[in-house]
């Protein structure tokens, strides 16, 4: 599978290393070349410096033949916009964006891209954790 990841932070770089280890072809885009140190020296994929909302940068990353596009930059709106471009302009079959704001994540999940909302995930897990404490189960 040919996968493009926008944003080489903790999530982007970990995803890229994991998917590359599984044998997929990876391109990682970030506007800060220093961020690629997170990938390690042995990362087999391609590193591309540029802005992921720039169509020319996306073309250079090979978006016209990509199977999946994952946007994990530090900006919700950047992630939404580059995933929309991947979906609508380049017809990437699987465009995913990380969106911290649950409401915006909901709107765009209904309009052509897949969204992952860490805030929603975290709140579910935190509530589960509280439910698991002894006092919640009458063991006080």
């Amino acid at each position: 599978m040919y996968v493009i990841i926008a944003g080489c932070g903790r999530v982007g770089s970990t995803m890229a290393r994991q998917l590359a280890a599984e044998g997929h072809d990876l391109v990682v885009i970030d506007e800060d070349p220093g961020s690629f140190t997170l990938l390690g020296d042995d990362f087999p994929g391609q590193r591309l410096v540029g802005q992921a909302i720039d169509w020319d940068v996306l073309r250079e990353a090979g978006i016209e033949g990509a199977d999946a596009f994952a946007a994990a930059t530090d900006g919700d709106n950047t992630n939404i916009v580059c995933a929309l471009i991947a979906a609508r302009a380049f017809e990437v079959p699987c465009p995913v964006a990380r969106v911290y704001d649950p409401r915006r994540a909901g709107v765009f999940a209904r309009n052509g891209i897949r969204t992952v909302c860490p805030t929603d995930e975290a709140q579910v897990m935190m509530i589960d954790a509280v439910h698991e404490c002894p006092a919640a189960n009458g063991e006080s």
């Binding site: 709106n77 916009v81 915006r104």
Partner: protein
């Protein structure tokens, strides 16, 4: 009309100031506290502090009853998202957005923003308009209206030179609206003879540029003229 403006920089503030005397109602959303504090005395309850890409901020500002949303922040991603939310979630009838970097224009077009304004592209058109080397200058593009306004110069070797407007072979979908000659502008009448050096203001349907250039500037290949006026190489 109720107008919601997101971004109270120079553009947003001046849009708001010009709407007020026309009797329109408006609310301006600004994210930066320093800017908000600075403008508070003038705008009072027309100004709201917050991130205009947050839906609760837009709702508090009244987006649900907005007739027009104007997204003029300094960030293109934010302007795109504001425009999308206005359309998709709130059914706002018309959205106008600012394009900060002309490289992002295709994204605004892709996502059906009604009207976009790019100061850099406009300025470039105006500069080309002032420079004699450019024989073809796109001046204004109205996507929704399906119309463009361009300027084209009549050269000495143009087949249109010394002919009346009615006698030149214009492609379908092109209208000569005015002739700029010797510093004055004449409304184009059918019998008016075109002279070398005349600059014609033409209205045309999108995509008719090359046909117009072909009809007016046969001595040069349309590709060459297009290349001169291309903004693709422009970067901020």
């Amino acid at each position: 009309m109720f107008v919601l403006i997101v971004g109270a920089g120079k553009v947003g503030l001046n849009v708001a100031r010009s709407l007020s005397p026309l009797g329109h109602e408006f609310v301006l959303i600004e994210q930066r506290r320093s800017r908000y504090n600075l403008l508070g005395a003038e705008l009072e309850d027309h100004l709201q502090l917050g991130d205009g890409t947050e839906m609760w901020v837009l709702e508090k500002a009244g987006i649900g009853r907005a007739d027009l949303v104007v997204a003029v922040t300094g960030d293109d991603e934010d302007n795109v998202v504001i425009a999308q939310l206005a359309k998709l979630e709130y059914g706002v009838p018309k959205v106008v957005a600012r394009v900060n970097n002309p490289r992002n224009q295709p994204t605004f077009d892709l996502l059906d923003v009604d009207s976009t304004i790019c100061a850099t592209t406009l300025m470039l058109s105006m500069i080309q308009h002032e420079l004699p080397v450019h024989q073809f200058v796109p001046l204004l593009s109205m996507h929704r209206e399906n119309m463009e306004l361009v300027e084209i110069e009549v050269s000495e070797d143009s087949p249109a030179a010394y002919l009346g407007i009615d006698d030149i072979r214009l492609p379908a979908g092109v209208l000569v609206a005015a002739i700029m000659r010797d510093g004055t502008t004449l409304l184009a009448r059918g019998s008016e003879e075109l002279r070398p050096g005349d600059q014609l203001l033409c209205l045309l349907a999108p995509g008719k540029e090359k046909a117009l250039i072909g009809a007016m500037l046969p001595s040069r290949r349309p590709e060459d003229v297009q290349a001169e006026t291309s903004i693709d190489s422009l970067d901020e």
